[in-house]
């Protein structure tokens, strides 16, 4: 673990991967630093934003966080999302990973994903859990408009576009689920730690 300086209101905790990120995030959710204002988990880091300058004591506290979270994982129920697998890149992705389309769909619907972190847009969650043989590159040329609800793959991640936006991920399907609604609590359906499954259907 490294604790990196990030100006006069934040520290950046860098760890090995998404499991350790989840451990740091959960530890700081349970026992926040004094004045902790935001936690921003990402692929290998957790940004800790404070309402005051960080101190050496904060750095020491972060270094003492448990490496492997001893507590049980988030007890959140699995969120099952109906997905119509008819995305414009579905056949290309199947060809890239050397499977038939029905076989690809069977594997993707068999995965239990975990929301590792957010970012990109309100309500977007980076879903981890894809087997390595399904990791595909982004599209060489991003689309200028990806529709809301598009289910997509890129690298080690799956994701769902919460609303229409530009995007470079491979589109394999779509869901009618509402990913982000400011009048709902919590507004984001997919929050870090949540478990997700895709079910074929629409």
């Amino acid at each position: 673990m490294r604790v990196l300086p990030y100006g006069d209101r934040a520290l950046l905790v860098e760890v090995d991967g998404t499991a350790a990120v989840a451990g740091v995030r959960r530890a700081l959710e349970r026992a926040p630093l004094t004045g902790q204002r935001e936690l921003v988990p990402a692929a290998r880091t957790v940004l800790v934003v404070l309402d005051r300058p960080p101190t050496e004591l904060d750095v020491a506290t972060l270094h003492r966080l448990p490496r492997h979270d001893a507590a049980p994982p988030d007890p959140a129920p699995v969120i099952t999302l109906p997905v119509a697998f008819d995305g414009p890149d579905l056949a290309e992705v199947a060809a890239l990973v050397g499977r038939s389309v029905p076989d690809l769909v069977a594997v993707v619907t068999d995965v239990e994903f975990t929301v590792a972190f957010g970012g990109f847009a309100p309500g977007f969650g980076y879903l981890t859990g894809l087997p390595p043989e399904l990791h595909v590159p982004r599209r060489a040329t991003p689309r200028t408009r990806v529709p809301a609800g598009a289910v997509a793959l890129a690298g080690p991640y799956a994701g769902i576009y919460p609303r229409a936006s530009p995007g470079g991920w491979q589109l394999v399907g779509r869901t009618a689920a509402v990913l982000f609604d400011v009048d709902r609590e919590p507004p984001a359906l997919l929050i870090p730690g949540a478990r997700v499954r895709f079910r074929e259907g629409s």
């Binding site: 006069d8 934040a10 204002r37 921003v40 990109f120 309100p122």
Partner: protein, 293 residues
Amino acid sequence: MLTVLAPGPLTTVQDRGRPGHAAIGVTRSGAADAPAAELANRLVGNRPEAALLEVTAGGLRVRAGRTLLVAVTGAPVPVEVDGRPAPFAAPTTLRAGAVLALGPPRRGLRSYLAVRGGVDVPPVLGSRSTDTLSGLGPPPLTAGTVLPVGDLAGEEPFVDVAPVGPPPDRPVLRLLPGPRRDWLDDAAWAALTTQEWVVGPDSDRVGLRLTGPRLGRARDGELPSEGLVSGAVQVPPDGAPVLFLADHPVTGGYPVLAVVVTADLPLAAQLRPGDVLRFRAAGAAPSRGLGSS
């Protein structure tokens, strides 16, 4: 209520923003020059959470629907009420039907118009701020927008005028090291802290795009996306740094070389395209002993 007759180039509703939602992709937003916004609220006796108008490059005209107490702060602009000069940074009473007009700022970019009671648009995730990046909050004001006035007022104000100077002509912003200084070559930090930088035309509430010497990488490869803060100076592959402001994305995939100290963010928020600025290394870093364990 206030009726917008002309919004100028860009006027948005802002308050202290919506902290605490970065993990679900929602940035803080809020007034870009927070101390100027706080002062405007204080001048009309508002509670600190009251929303006000952030007026970019002047040009706003509004009509009061009833007698209202207002104050204008931030970038100094000529203020007129029904065509007559009115004070800047001082509580001013508008009679019902009066038209308040802000001219172009002599210096700086963002002025703040507070109205006693606060601008009472519906809050989204606990804030009335417009997030120009994700579109949360009310849309930018257009001619004809009617803004309700709320009841977020406290004690009657007792300040006549706040003596505030204009933003400096060529500000020097203090920098602390960012988390990825080692991704840039040694010359990058030196160039950032000694050279002049010019604010690019595509700068906005998301960030200032800066032109100057090209900052070079010390290492190749892609940095996995990681969290961003206001004041972060990120260096994309083209070597032209971006200084993030209130509507910054919550994460970014390019190395952050440096971070502007919080106290100097208001200076950054008042820079306009074409302005020249410098950076200098701030004194002692806030924490030492950082490293592996």
